[in-house]
């Protein structure tokens, strides 16, 4: 993962317009050799479009794309040294698994024994040897996606592109294959660019996550950084399940955050810049960072309220209460039995919180 000295994929000032609609806007992204990058965002954010641009399946309007130091902006997909895995697997239905795997190699005129060698290796890695003579229609979803990955594998390329590869699978299979992809990456040490809207996949797989919205990369960082220090309210809200709590209010000199009868001292909060802003802002705090009961009392901020709703999740329980007139959720251990109406004491350490400008949404 970390001979990150060489740059594998480099995108410079890339823009893509469809007529008057701008889909990607002056985008820059450098992916290091062997790095696992996840492009994360809601649908329509341009993440798949970006991936297709990298693959050469879409012609870009502006900018350049380098793969392995070579300008591939105008190259055909096959000449870019990439392999790609699609959401719908995109297996050729009339060909057997083996033919599916070898199609690209046959097109490229690779020698027959070399093809056999590569297929054997890929089939071994993905454990699909028994399936080689079957047609895609006779495979389960998970098997199909393995074959689709295999198709990228046999190409023996430097860069793997994944376009929401697990979205069509059920939850259990998704978790299994997620692990397999991670193992695969560790084994192959290839550069991988992975598009998903699933934050768990992003968090578990990525070396770095690029959170996208409206054709712009909002934040590009390691998963933990993005989780803990989101650069804006969008990123903060998009990552994390259950979602971060937001409280609208004011920052006043002190600094202190105030909203309907609640004031949170911000002495320990690490501001982004050196300036101490004041004015309308939003305070975000993740449910797991809210302490409960006795532990809450020792927090720099603490308040009391009553339970509104209880959502048992199995491993823990999500409890909803009100703070300053707004809904606030927090986690308690599954063993705790709370009922609506029970009084609760909550508290948190502002160092764990995030503060966003109410107007721009940017982190303060």
């Amino acid at each position: 993962m970390t001979e990150a000295n060489g740059t594998s994929v480099s995108i410079q000032d890339l823009s893509l317009n469809f007529g008057a609609v701008s889909v990607l806007q002056t985008l820059n992204l450098d992916v290091a050799e062997g790095e696992f990058i996840v492009l994360l965002g809601p649908s329509g954010c341009g993440k798949s479009t970006l991936l297709n641009c990298i693959a050469g399946l879409l012609d870009i309007s502006e900018g350049r794309i380098f793969i392995k130091g070579k300008n591939v902006t105008w190259e055909e997909p096959k000449d870019r040294g990439i392999g790609m895995v699609f959401q719908s697997y995109a297996l050729y239905p009339q060909m057997t698994v083996e033919k599916n795997l070898s199609f690209g190699l046959r097109v490229a005129g690779v020698a027959r024994d070399e093809i056999a060698k590569r297929i054997a290796r890929a089939a071994e890695i993905l454990q699909i040897e028994p399936l080689l003579q079957r047609k895609p229609a006779a495979l389960s979803g998970g098997q199909r996606q393995r074959v689709a990955i295999g198709r990228a594998l046999v190409r023996d390329v430097d860069v793997f592109l994944f376009d929401e590869p697990l979205s069509n699978l059920d939850a259990k299979l998704r978790a299994e294959l997620r692990v397999e992809i991670k193992l695969l990456h560790r084994k192959l040490q290839n550069t991988m660019i992975y598009v998903t809207h699933d934050q768990i996949e992003a968090m578990t797989l990525a070396d770095r996550i690029a959170v996208m919205r409206g054709g712009i990369i909002q934040q590009l960082d390691a998963p933990q950084t993005i989780y803990n220090r989101p650069v804006n309210r969008f990123v903060a809200g998009f990552l994390g399940s259950p979602a971060m709590n937001f409280l609208d209010g004011q920052v006043e000199a002190g600094p202190v955050f105030k909203t309907d009868g609640v004031s949170v001292p911000l002495d320990r909060y690490v501001f982004d810049g050196t300036e101490r802003p004041t004015g309308a802002c939003v305070l975000g705090i993740r449910p797991e960072h809210i302490a409960f009961g006795d532990a809450a009392k020792s927090m720099p901020f603490s308040a009391s309220g009553s339970v509104e709703i209880v959502e048992p999740m199995g491993s823990d329980t999500l409890v909803w209460t009100k703070l300053g007139g707004r809904n606030l959720s927090f986690r308690v251990e599954a063993e705790r039995t709370l009922r609506p109406g029970d009084p609760v004491q909550i508290g948190f350490d502002p160092v764990r919180a995030s503060l966003f400008d109410a107007a721009t949404g940017n982190r303060l």
Partner: protein, 313 residues
């Protein structure tokens, strides 16, 4: 829907049973002669009679002798079955001095239909594929022109095409006729193929591109093998259309290469004395036989292909 009719009440009945012993229990009874069924099959049957009537009359008449036709009722079955009219229609009916019936026209039609069907489908499928997957600038404009072209009555185009064919020296040749059929088959076929290829997963096409296949590689190795239903539809439409064509056949061929429809028209309109309805009907059925057989064989595939080519827009 019918299986729900069985399963839903069954489970509901299980619950009810515990509460009320006399309630409905087990599968919901179904009546073969329910009002719905009588209406449904009754309507279908009546409509089917309307559709079959002409065929019935054709077959029955073609098996009757002329005296019987003159006396009788067109719907009554033949008292005495004769295959004479069929033999005559196939091998001895006259047009002018040629008295070899439809037999010659049959082979001419085969010679015209086969290459025309192949060429028109080859062109239209590639067009549809290029339009669906490789849209280049201006392609849509040409496509719109093509679709509008589908509305142009053929009669209007006869003269310009005569001139064009004359200029390229193909007038009167089989090749010329094949080209004409390909041209006029192009709009609807291209529309069908374009719709069909558009409905295929885009990712498949992308995967093939990543695999390094080019325009022709993707078409021949990925798209075409997946497109059996739409090819069947195209074949059916073209075989029927070209086999049944009269206008181009008569204008762009010579008498010794007249297709079957032209000869049918000649036989039917060459009234020598009394109209021989039985021979006409036999000739009519014979002429329609090839497309009819194609339909009967491939009916199911036709619906499937139509679904794929027409439904997704």
């Amino acid at each position: 829907m019918s299986d729900q009719a069985v399963t839903l009440p069954a489970s509901a009945g299980a619950v009810a049973n515990r509460l009320e012993a006399s309630g409905p229990r087990g599968p919901k009874p179904r009546h073969v002669f329910s009002r719905r069924n009588i209406f449904l099959y009754g309507t279908l049957f009546v409509v089917a009679v309307y559709y079959l009537l002409p065929l019935y009359v054709m077959v029955v008449t073609s098996l009757k002798g002329m005296p019987e036709i003159r006396l009788g009722n067109i719907f009554s079955p033949p008292l005495e079955i004769t295959f004479e009219p069929w033999v005559k229609a196939w091998s001895t009916a006259c047009t002018g001095l040629n008295c070899d019936g439809l037999s010659r026209g049959f082979w001419n039609s085969v010679r015209i239909t086969v290459p025309s069907v192949l060429l028109s489908i080859a062109i239209a499928s590639v067009n549809g594929y290029a339009l669906a997957n490789w849209r280049f600038k201006g392609a849509d404009t040409f496509f719109v022109i093509l679709i509008v072209g589908a509305f142009i009555p053929y009669q209007i185009m006869i003269y310009p095409i005569v001139i064009i064919l004359r200029e390229v020296g193909l007038y009167g040749s089989l090749a010329g006729l094949v080209i004409v059929h390909s041209i006029f088959g192009m709009p609807i076929l291209t529309l069908l193929f374009r719709n069909y290829f558009s409905s295929m997963p885009e990712e498949l096409f992308r995967a093939a591109r990543v695999d390094g296949a080019g325009f022709w590689g993707i078409f021949l190795r990925i798209m075409a093998p997946m497109s059996l239903p739409i090819f069947v539809v195209a074949i059916i439409l073209q075989v029927t259309g070209i086999w049944n064509d009269f206008l181009f056949g008569v204008v762009y061929t010579r008498p010794d290469t007249y297709p079957m429809t032209v000869q049918l028209n000649n036989i039917v309109n060459s009234v020598q004395g009394v109209k021989e309805y039985n021979v006409n009907m036999a000739a009519t059925i014979l002429t329609g036989l090839v497309p009819l057989i194609v339909y009967f064989i491939s009916g199911k595939l036709f619906v499937r292909g139509i679904a794929a080519g027409a439904v997704k827009g």
